[in-house]
Symmetry: C2
Subunit: 426 residues, 2 copies
């Protein structure tokens, strides 16, 4: 085939290929999160990334629907969208089996989401996200549980309270301040939009734009800070109580932040985000809030719901920044079994099966290379341990275990290998 | 919101929603397969389901490209396809890092594939598939390893040799028989296509259609059976040797089946499929073969490659048919911790964290229901164990563990709960 006809090895624009060492990092964060969530009584669900387009056209951000989705028409003239987020699918599924499900639901889902954006740093067209939701639990209990889980997730990766801050706000509080100043519904939305963009603009621009919303010299944020309006103060006290409850549980990194809005229009109460405290990585790691109206878009009464999500890229950046990502996430097996001569292969396979039964991941040499070259191959494959297995080892039941990173080796009986390797790897 | 404006709760046509009890079954087959493959030295990779359309237009079946893909044009006028299968993405990724990778590769990937077909039983527009490939290993070693792995996967789910049969054929053998009869390349492809469709037509139709390919009263299949042509016999002997090697290893369910072709045009050598022996489920569970030419479509020399795949629907049907799917795959937690009175909740949370540290998945009551109603809730949630935790339990360190399916209960110290539940659940 000529050069001209060669196919390109590039992936589609804005998406990633995951070679084993890349995928091992994602698997690590998915597995760690899944284990923690299941341990806390959460159940995993999933849906197809193909959704009917109408699902995104009623209550989600218009920017996303019009500018940022992959939407196309299938041959049956159906409009199909690649899901840009999971919450509408969750609401659809909950509504679909509302009479059979036992509430409150504690559900999570791990998968890819798609946004048609100009590719830039940290902004991919496909990214992975973990979505965590509590549906059917009213009042502050769901907020309590969701924010505790957010804290537990980062803690299980080894993060400490001073590595991140949980910023909480309340749409109800913001709305009550806007109401007190008699802003219209449209002006309220515009004001929330301004707060949402605050970190992306200079403080001068922010001050200029907020001036539009001042009534008698006060804008809603200033009204909240002043603490002089009764209904606003009442909302503020509820939020303070919630924050104090977290602090009493040792979550000293939970704070009130009146500018937190989170983009989506469907939020109705508490909103929160988790921010990296490292000034080099000033990004929201997690975000979410209460969205009591979403499930009832499919019919029936309002159903209280609270959820949050985090993406693979920002979490991995956070773990790297705080030196919390394990070094040995290569996807490679644990042991390379070498064969002194090719006729040792069947014995080596049996030996490998013994190690596998003990829970080790084992590769057996299939080449005719000399043992020294097999060791070199194991190193290139980033396999941490090498064990040659031939006539001698089969007859005396002892092997030499080479720890390749340390260029050290130790002789031991076959039934001690697994414990030795598991101990050394932790 | 009026009835007319209500959003539908149906998923997009031909795709599935996975509620927790559905997803638990998929997770079980993915986790079991992943553990086995990693244990055998395989590494997991992944790619985006969005691929450039040209990837499917050179060597894959034309039917798939023209009739069965989701292909659309993005706003940058790029043609994008939702991957209908994984092998082209694998070949692209291997070619892209050909100089850095250490061969042979043993790679697998688990994910969704998309086909734009009329939805019918077992034919969904989105299905999950496990793809397993060995790249860079020439000769019969890769065939040997791949088919052993296929056998190991089904064995690890509990299947016995008489539950399934592995049917092996060789494209080289079929081609040599077609060559011996001087069929043109086009006629050879047509003949292979006829064999591929054999099980979907009556034997009369098959006999009528095969007549076209007879030369001197013999068609390629009859030539193979007659064993009179030297080059055909030589290919047949290679294949027999491979099959005998499997049978010597105890894989007595490996057989030669000259009509096995597997659809894809890119196969170049051995092809095989795994068939359910139960006459009620007469379907191929797994299929694959050698495709030495695929990686070099991206440039460079031919690279030996051998792979196979299986789908979620057919595997789960197989496991159900043979009574091999565990009954307890519900996605529900292991333990429901009940609270005699609401003020017990903080203690109950601490108790739950103790059980979680022992590896149990635990839900704590958050309602104000009476204990009896909490037990009923646990049953409805299909949670197998119920433990009430209040003042009494906290002070004497003993709890009553209810096994809900048996309506039995047993008192024990807190530190024995985890061992009791893990033992009872296996």
């Amino acid at each position: 085939m000529s050069k001209e006809q060669q196919l390109s090895t590039e992936p589609y624009k804005g998406v990633r290929d995951f070679y084993p060492e890349d995928w091992a990092k994602l698997q690590y964060i998915f597995d760690t999160t899944r284990t923690l969530l299941r341990s806390n009584g959460f159940e995993e669900y999933n849906a197809s990334p193909l959704e009917r387009s109408e699902l995104y056209e009623s209550k989600t951000s218009e920017e996303i629907v019009n500018e940022q989705t992959y939407t196309f028409t299938d041959r049956g003239e159906r409009r199909v969208t690649l899901r840009p987020e999971m919450t509408p699918s969750l609401a659809r599924m909950v509504a679909g089996k509302r009479r059979e499900l036992v509430f409150p639901l504690r559900w999570f889902s791990i998968g890819n989401r798609f946004r048609y954006e100009r590719p830039q740093k940290g902004r991919l067209r496909e990214f992975y996200q973990v979505d965590i939701d509590i549906v059917g639990l009213p009042g502050a209990k769901a907020e309590g549980e969701a924010i505790v889980i957010a804290h537990k997730i980062l803690s299980t990766f080894g993060a400490k309270n001073d590595d991140f801050v949980i910023r909480i706000n309340s749409r109800t509080l913001l709305n009550s301040a806007c109401d007190a100043l008699k802003l219209s519904a449209e002006q309220t939305n515009e004001y929330l939009g301004l707060l949402d963009r605050k970190n992306k603009m200079s403080s001068e621009t922010f001050e200029t734009e907020r001036a539009v919303f001042r009534r008698n010299g006060t804008d809603p944020l200033e009204l909240i800070e002043a603490g002089m309006n009764e209904s606003v103060t009442s909302e503020q006290e509820k939020l303070n109580g919630l924050i104090q409850a977290f602090r009493d549980r040792g979550m000293t990194n939970v704070v009130f932040e009146p500018t937190v809005v989170r983009g989506f229009l469907y939020y109705t109460g508490i909103v929160f985000e988790v921010f990296d405290t490292n000034p080099e990585n000033p990004r929201a790691l997690m975000g979410g809030g209460r969205y009591d109206g979403l499930v009832s878009l499919f019919g029936g009464d309002m159903l209280p719901a609270m959820g949050f999500a985090f993406g693979d890229v920002t979490l991995i950046d956070f773990l790297i920044t705080h030196n919390l990502l394990p070094k040995n996430l290569t996807g490679a097996p644990d042991v390379f079994v070498g064969t002194p001569v090719e006729s040792d292969t069947p014995k080596a396979h049996d030996f490998a099966d013994t190690l596998r039964a003990d829970g080790l991941n084992v590769l057996v040499n299939v080449t005719e290379k000399a043992l020294g070259d097999q060791v070199k191959e194991a190193v290139r494959r980033t396999i941490p341990y090498f064990i040659a297995f031939g006539e001698t080892e089969a007859s005396n039941g002892k092997v030499m275990v080479k720890t390749l990173a340390e260029s050290s080796q130790e002789e031991m009986p076959i039934d001690e290998i697994s414990a030795f390797i598991k101990k050394s790897s932790t």
